[in-house]
Each structure stands twice: as C-alpha cells, then as structure tokens.
Amino acid sequence: MGGRDLLTLVFVISTIASSAVAGAYTYNYYQFYPGLRSIELKVHSFQYNPTNTSLNGQVVFTIENPSSYSGFTMTEVLTSYDITPPGEGPIPQGLMLYELGRSVALTPGKITSLNMPFTGTGNGPNIVYNMIQNQQATQSQFIFNYRVEVYVSTFMDTYASVIILFACTTQGTTGECQQGEIALATTGPSSNGGGGGGA
C-alpha cells in the first residue's frame, strides 16, 4: 500500500469517526425543540390581602425542564397581569416587577421557584378592596390572569433569541398555566430588529 492509499484509508477512518461525533451532536440538537416545548410553568401558590392602595399579593411560580436536554438557561422573566372581578371585564395591572438576578440553568428535572410579590396599579387595588368590603364579591371570586414571558438562552444565542410564552390563571389559592407560543427572534449582527416565528 502506497502513501496515497494510506492517506485515503486515514481519510475513510477519520470521516467515519467525525460522522459519529457529529451524529451525537445532531441527535442532541433534535432534542432541542421538543425540550423547549416541554418546559413547564406552574402556579405553586397564590395569595393576596388587598387594601385600598395595594393588593399585597404574592404568586409563586415554579419552572421545570422535564426533558433530557440540558442546554437551556433562563435569563429573564417578564410578567404582566390583569384582574377580572366577577361579572366585569379585566382590569390591566401592567408589568409585575421581578428581578431574576442571575441566569438560571434549566437543568433537567430541577424545579426553580419564581417568587413574585405584587401590589397592583391604578384603581385596581381600590376596586378589589371596595368590592370585597361591600360584599359584592369574595376574595376567591377574583380571577388573576398572567402573561409570563420566559427568556431562554440557548446554543442559538448568536443568531436567535428564544422566548417562551405562558398564560396563567389564578383564582382563590390555586392556579394553572399553559404554554403558549415559543417565539424565535433573530439577533444576528446584520439583522434589523429581528424577524420572528413561533416554533
């Protein structure tokens, strides 16, 4: 076997080896989208004790990545909410201020708590307080609707950012969340503000 044949043989072997390595990473990539889709947000607890100036509330969400994909990191959480009194339309309460502090890895199987106190804005607290005081409604009849945007850092950060949207509802002391769309937005250097699409 000459030098050229030997080089060809090495080429064959190295191609097989590199294909095996690439295959492992490709398989991992195929877990990426189902992994995003499987991320769960739940209402762990909810309570509020309104006065005419503040709702004095607190909602605790838990977020979990039940998939085996380990490349997700939560970088920011934006929550807006409204209150729906019984028999009336929703009262928007704007953004719920929440500082995540540092990025949190969404390690498979690990549950992370998001503790969010809220006070309410505008006439919201006063309306709720007065309706309860005047016995027009009980505290458990008010429905709180949340729109939670979870910003997720992934391997695609250089080119696209990922935002998972959740819609949550609490009433009384319990609540539930449903995952809405997953928004992908381009972040590359030549993009102009970014296009987007739901995954």
Partner: protein, 140 residues
C-alpha cells in the same frame, strides 16, 4: 501492506477514487460543521484547523489542482446540502409547528451562509490547492 478487498474496491481506478474522496470530503466537512453549529452555531479555531487539514488531505489524494478545486466545490456543495437537511429535519418532521418551521429553515440558511462565506470557504479552498500541489510533488 496488502489492500483489503473493500478498500481495493473503493480505489479500484482513478475515477472511483476521485468520487470516493469527494464523498468523504463532503462527509468530513458536513461533520465538522454539524458538531460546531449544533453546539454553538459558530466555528472555533479548532474547527477551522480540522477543515483545513481535511481539505489538505483531500487535495493531496486528488493529485491535481484542477480536480482538487472542482472536487472541493462539489464536496462543499454536498456538505452544505447535508448540513442544511440535518438542521431542518425538526421542521420537516413536524417537531416545529407552522409558521415556526419556515422561520427555522430561513434562520438555518442564514446561519450556514454566515459561517461559510467568505473566509472559511476560501481557507478550505487554499487547503485543497496546497494539498494538491503537495500531492503532485510527493505521490508522483
């Protein structure tokens, strides 16, 4: 060292050897790109180095600059087609719902072209040409 029968059939004649080298070249480049973009969507210096070495070796096996350049263009085209296909499999299989599937396909086209053009394409081409020159001098 005696050639084994399977290897002998791969390099039975010059034409077959050239086809085999181009296919291996495409497979190697696609593998280097795939492990890089599916980890971090960018290439590292090591990835550039590996791609350069692969092109150097492939160029050396072809023994001819013209064949090396043409072979590289075929191999790169095939590699990018493989990479694009691998990247959009989730969109094709329904793992990504519309309209996200279209967006993901567009995004991957953008990612692949940004990582390939122009530097990396030229670097691998230079590797192929240097390899062909070295092969002409060493193997002839």
């Amino acid at each position: 060292m005696e050639r084994s029968s399977w290897f002998n059939s791969l390099v039975k004649n010059e034409r077959r050897r050239t086809i085999v080298v181009i296919l291996l070249w495409a497979g190697s480049i696609a593998s280097i790109f795939a492990q890089a973009v599916f980890q971090r969507t960018t290439l590292t210096a090591l990835d550039y180095g590996l791609g350069f070495l692969v092109s150097l070796a492939a160029g050396a096996i072809t023994l001819d600059i013209g064949k090396a350049v043409l072979g590289y263009i075929f191999a790169m085209t095939l590699a990018l087609a493989i990479l694009f296909f691998l990247s959009i499999v989730p969109a094709l299989t329904g793992a990504i719902q519309p309209p996200g599937d279209v967006f993901v396909e567009t995004l991957w086209i953008s990612i692949i072209f940004r990582i390939v053009l122009p530097f990396q394409f030229m670097l691998f081409l230079v590797g192929a040409v240097i390899g062909a020159i070295a092969g002409e001098n060493y193997f002839y």
